[in-house]
Symmetry: C2
Subunit: 140 residues, 2 copies
DNA sequence: ATATACCCGACTAAAATAGTCAAGTTTTTG
DNA sequence: CAAAAACTTGACTATTTTAGTCGGGTATAT
């Protein structure tokens, strides 16, 4: 039960942007150097973040990305959603009355998995990007 | 971010055993028929459950498996642990002071992922197998 | 002009997943 | 005793997912 690296790197990169925010856009090159993530991979990630209106881009020299919302307003759940990282712990269809595991009724554990999803999603819903920056250790 | 089927089926199968408990052992064949899970796959799962002392086996005709603990005492986290389904949402080493993503210090989001792990694990720690059986729908 | 940096689809190697298969052993019952 | 039911175990495999890379763009500041 792991979060994929795309989601993890997305959160890292956006946290990086929040820390090194300024009036200027933050380039992927800088994020790459500071966080140790490949530029090529960051491009792929930021493409999704842009499409989902988490960041906006500035092209050309001195270009880069800018957070659309302030870190205080940006929910972690929004970031994960942008990367299709659904927190759907099992395969049962959430709302349908039938077809859990090919059976005609809800499987015996259906409600439990629903609870789990809610539990995890509420964690991401309630966390803002700014929450990650509190009490953080000094980095080199 | 999904739970694998082994874990899911393990919980389903054990819940099934709890429902259809009796003095007799429950055979994988019966669980397979009721829950729609391949016997061959159940065998693989129950091997781990047995090794981790979640169930004990009775061989021969009318054999099967028996829960070692009562459903009231069996934590879901014990089941997941038996199937190596660690709830470790990222790759950062939990306790080490170094080497998050190849950097010399904890990565910027390290503490956040730790919190997430704790959040999810506490859910599984606090749920007992018996909790899954409450208010369940009637199954065919 | 040209260097920098975003844009975007396609591709791929490696790992994980979700099983199956084969070849047993043990125990009950007729 | 023989046979069938049921557990035991390691190995194998097809499919899917993951974690990226590659190539060829386009936009813009200097």
């Amino acid at each position: 039960m792991k979060l994929n690296t795309k989601s993890r790197y997305a959160v890292m990169a956006l946290a990086d942007m929040a820390v090194f925010s300024s009036d200027n856009a933050v380039s992927l090159r800088d994020i790459s150097l500071r966080q140790g993530i490949s530029i090529l991979y960051l491009e792929q990630i930021f493409l999704r973040l842009k499409k989902n209106n988490i960041v906006k881009s500035v092209r050309g020299i001195n270009g880069g990305y800018i957070l659309v919302k302030s870190p205080k307003e940006l929910k972690i759940s929004d970031i994960l959603l942008a990367l299709d990282q659904k927190v759907k712990t099992i395969g049962c269809k959430k709302d349908s009355k039938k077809s859990c595991n090919g059976k005609s009724t809800k499987c015996i554990t259906h409600n439990f998995w629903d609870e789990l999803d809610i539990h995890i999603n509420s964690f991401f819903e309630n966390k803002k990007l700014s929450d990650l920056l509190k009490n953080r250790e000094v980095r080199i």
